[in-house]
């Protein structure tokens, strides 16, 4: 009977896993992975005879398995410490900061983005002051002498400079460092960016008195988008956003609607992606109105999600900021919903987007 010790122990573990997975209430979302979890696929006669249905069941069981996050952590630690791998799920950690492996520089993508910017400038903004700013992604700060792949940022910069002649560059690389990023996410932590607005105002020729201080509101835990990929027992981030009188009085509108939305959509803090607190997340086109702005100037920003946390910092300097995300907004939508007058125009993109710019159209 001694021989049955191992089989019985394993059987107990299997039964334990099965029973606990069955009796544990289903979860709708995984806050760590920032995604919806599968619910049990309802059977129908048609589905029962389709092998895809059983893959759906497996996906459901994987999602709802008891101790899912702990088991994922075991896998990650095995990969790092037993197999000595550099990344797991394309995510790696340096000094408790998470990074995600990026693709090498895609010159054709950067050229595509530059040509698009140039064509907008020539077609719509020939009379405007036009700027472009490139936000370095997190991997820009990876040491160059390691194994981790790093884009050729210099080449990216050269391509843009060559193709965007006539558009004023607002260099941002020197304004950003690794401390400005969340540890578990690719985005910039707005509360650590205060001061950037002064630099931007100077670069765009806006004369305002920037606020001396902001009130900061924080939400914790914030599991960044890399957290779920990494599956490591790391401390979560804290997501903070800054407020002052100008920001509190500001609001967002969307084309075709008079409805006003707050600058910080606090309901998003409890959702899958808390970063959507900034201006309510992604949108093709929206207008940010700042009644207490110190100028009557207006700004058009073509940007990505990185711009969402920067725009609230610029509300003292601009009465209206129109934000356009060319991944979702067509040129026709731009023509329909944006009246081009004498606004300042800024193309503000992260190197991540520029290197994968085929969605910009």
């Amino acid at each position: 009977m001694k021989a049955l010790l191992t089989p019985l122990l394993l059987l107990v573990v299997l039964l334990f896993g099965m029973t606990l997975s069955i009796v544990t209430p289903e979860k709708d979302i995984s806050e760590y992975e920032r995604r919806s979890l599968k619910s049990f696929p309802e059977p129908t006669i048609e589905k029962i005879f389709d092998s895809d249905y059983y893959q759906e069941i497996e996906a459901y069981l994987l999602d709802q398995f008891v101790g899912r996050q702990k088991l994922r952590e075991i896998n990650t630690l095995t990969r790092y410490y037993l197999f000595n791998q550099l990344d797991v799920n394309d995510t790696f950690v340096i000094d408790d900061i998470l990074f995600q492996k990026n693709n090498p520089l895609d010159e054709s993508s950067v050229k595509h983005a530059a040509d698009l910017i140039q064509s907008y400038q020539q077609q719509y903004f020939s009379e405007n002051d036009v700027y472009y700013g490139v936000l370095p992604d997190k991997n820009y700060f990876i040491p160059e002498d390691g194994y981790y792949p790093r884009k050729d940022y210099e080449e990216l910069k050269d391509i843009l400079e060559e193709r965007l002649q006539g558009i004023t560059n607002v260099p941002l690389s020197e304004q950003i460092d690794l401390d400005h990023f969340y540890r578990t996410d690719h985005h910039l932590d707005q509360s650590r960016l205060t001061g950037l607005e002064t630099y931007l105002y100077d670069s765009l020729g806006v004369e305002v008195n920037p606020p001396n201080d902001y009130d900061t509101t924080c939400h914790s835990p914030f599991y960044g988008s890399y957290y779920g990929h990494a599956a490591l027992p790391l401390e979560a981030d804290t997501l903070c956003y800054v407020e002052n009188g100008t920001i509190e009085s500001a609001y967002v509108t969307r084309p075709g609607s008079e409805e006003q939305y707050p600058i910080y959509e606090e309901s998003s803090l409890e959702g899958i992606d808390a970063y959507e607190v900034f201006l309510g997340g992604l949108d093709p086109i929206r207008h940010v109105h700042s009644p207490e702005a110190q100028t009557e100037k207006e700004l058009i920003i073509f940007g990505d999600s990185f711009a969402n946390s920067i725009v609230p910092l610029l509300l003292d300097g601009y009465e209206t900021i129109t934000m356009i995300d060319l991944r979702y907004a067509s040129e026709t939508a731009f023509e329909t919903h944006v009246d081009v007058e004498d606004q300042d125009v800024m193309f503000l993109y992260s190197t991540m987007i520029l290197n994968d710019a085929w969605a910009l159209d």
């Binding site: 191992t6 092998s51 059983y54 994987l62 994922r72 896998n75 197999f83 000595n84 194994y147």
Partner: protein, 467 residues
């Protein structure tokens, strides 16, 4: 259903084990049959009818062969069983390959059939044929119980990806078997070993292939890395599956024959094929090569026999020209060894002989792994500096560094080094007792590691499922 799935590990298997060991002996085959059909149904619901139909065909043909023993009809029923078995296999597996080639050769536009390859059809068809042929040869007794016969054909441990278990091997166990505690322990250990080989090693090595396919730029070193990684992956994938099948069989009281015996330590291709997918090699030898006359014929006929057998071996693996080329490649190498190289190989230092086999295998697996003949030649060309690829780049260095340990671990584990070391250490009583004491904890740890990998990973079907 996959062995390496939560559905199987945490639901199917424990429920089956409890029911199987509770029910009286006379119902055990019925329990295995029902669960085997559920197992198959989860992977291929529609084709379960084909599995049942093929099993019944084998059973009925067996009864007919036995009933017409000593009459010419026995041969007729044997031929009928072969025609039905190979006919179904040919229709489901090779129809579209045939149509594609007709279209290419004659410029026709025949529409390919909308059929999917039924899971495991190559394996269970060969098992059924082993029964009817051996029955005709009077090497096994007729199976009169359809439940027992269908249990043999659809036995889930080896149903989908082998090993190809001859009816003769488990004929007696089907009627009367006992699962002794030590058999269960050994079976569980074997199953867990196979599970670890598949999930922790093979699937991790498979990631190198994904990196290769997604790479913006391939390099000579990356071509080699991809080829070596796949050569190791397929061994750990398939031998891992065989370990799991053999282990599960042992738990239920069956003794399946070994399917792998450290093939990568071979010193000749002839030896390699005695160690790689043994059950398939034995099947072709027993049911094709020997009936054709084997090697006891003149040279011309011998060449013909070898060509036929290795053409069939390649074709069995897949309905594509790269598999046929792969099979003929090995046939040609075996001929070369038998007729020319053998006398030189015997005088060659072992290290060169191992290198020769490893290189031949890597090139062979590169063709085997290719999605098409042209892709196979392109990858081999890349390895042989016949492309414009750079020698190495940063991405290649990264992938190499990222998977260096698992590659090294896999390369060592593909040899019997750890087994021999363990055997040597176990001569010391204290070490033997130590191994025995930590075995349960180690296997539980392995289960947790596998579970973690499965939960974190994606869907990774076994490579041999596609055959």
């Amino acid at each position: 259903m996959l062995f390496s799935s939560i559905t199987f590990l945490y639901y199917f298997l424990p429920i089956l084990l409890i029911i199987y060991f509770i029910v009286p002996s006379k119902y055990k085959n019925l329990v295995l049959l029902c669960f085997s059909l559920i197992f198959y149904f989860f992977g291929e619901p529609v084709y379960i009818l084909l599995l049942i139909g093929s099993s019944l065909s084998g059973y009925i043909h067996g009864r007919l062969i036995d009933a017409s023993r000593h009459t010419p009809y026995a041969r007729v029923w044997l031929i009928s069983s072969i025609v039905v078995g190979l006919g179904l296999l040919g229709f489901f597996k090779y129809s579209n390959f045939f149509i594609d080639n007709i279209n290419i050769l004659f410029g026709t536009e025949i529409t390919p059939l909308a059929i999917v390859l039924p899971l495991g059809i190559s394996f269970y068809t060969f098992q059924i044929l082993s029964y009817t042929i051996d029955l005709y040869r009077k090497e096994v007794a007729v199976q009169k119980n359809p439940i027992d016969f269908m249990t043999y054909v659809s036995l889930f441990p080896q149903l989908i990806a082998g090993p190809i278990v001859r009816y003769h091997t488990i004929e007696h166990a089907l009627q009367d078997r006992k699962s002794k505690p030590e058999d269960i322990r050994v079976g569980v250990k074997r199953f867990m070993t196979g599970l670890g080989k598949k999930v922790l090693i093979a699937d991790t090595l498979g990631e190198i292939g994904l990196h290769f396919q997604q790479a913006q730029e391939t390099t000579v070193v990356f071509y080699w890395l991809y080829a070596i990684a796949f050569t190791l992956q397929i061994y750990f994938d398939f031998s891992g599956y065989s370990d799991m099948a053999i282990g599960l069989g042992r738990i239920f009281g069956f003794r399946f024959l070994e399917n792998f015996n450290y093939p990568y330590i071979s010193r000749s291709i002839t030896e390699f094929w005695r160690r790689w997918h043994i059950s398939l090699g034995q099947w072709f030898k027993r049911y094709l090569y020997i009936p054709l006359g084997g090697n006891r014929v003149d040279l011309k006929r011998f060449l013909f026999n070898i060509t036929i057998v290795w053409f069939a071996t390649g074709l069995w693996h897949g309905a594509a020209w790269n598999f046929i080329i792969w099979g003929l490649y090995y046939g040609a190498l075996l001929l070369l060894e038998k007729l020319v190289l053998r006398r030189y190989l015997e005088k060659t230092p072992n290290v060169l002989r191992h290198t020769y086999v490893i290189l031949i295998t890597i090139f062979g697996m590169t063709m085997f792994n290719a999605g098409s003949l042209s892709e196979g030649f392109r990858n081999i060309g890349g390895m042989l500096l016949l492309s414009d690829a750079a020698f190495i780049n940063a991405e290649t260095v990264y992938v190499l560094r990222n998977y260096a340990v698992i590659l090294l671990l896999a390369a060592i584990t593909a040899t019997p080094v750890f087994r021999l070391l363990k055997e040597r250490l176990e001569h010391m009583t204290i070490v033997r007792r130590g191994f025995a004491a930590i075995e349960p904890a180690l296997l539980v740890l392995l289960l947790l590691l596998v579970s973690g990998t499965l939960i974190d990973g994606s869907f990774n079907p076994f490579i041999y499922f596609r055959f």
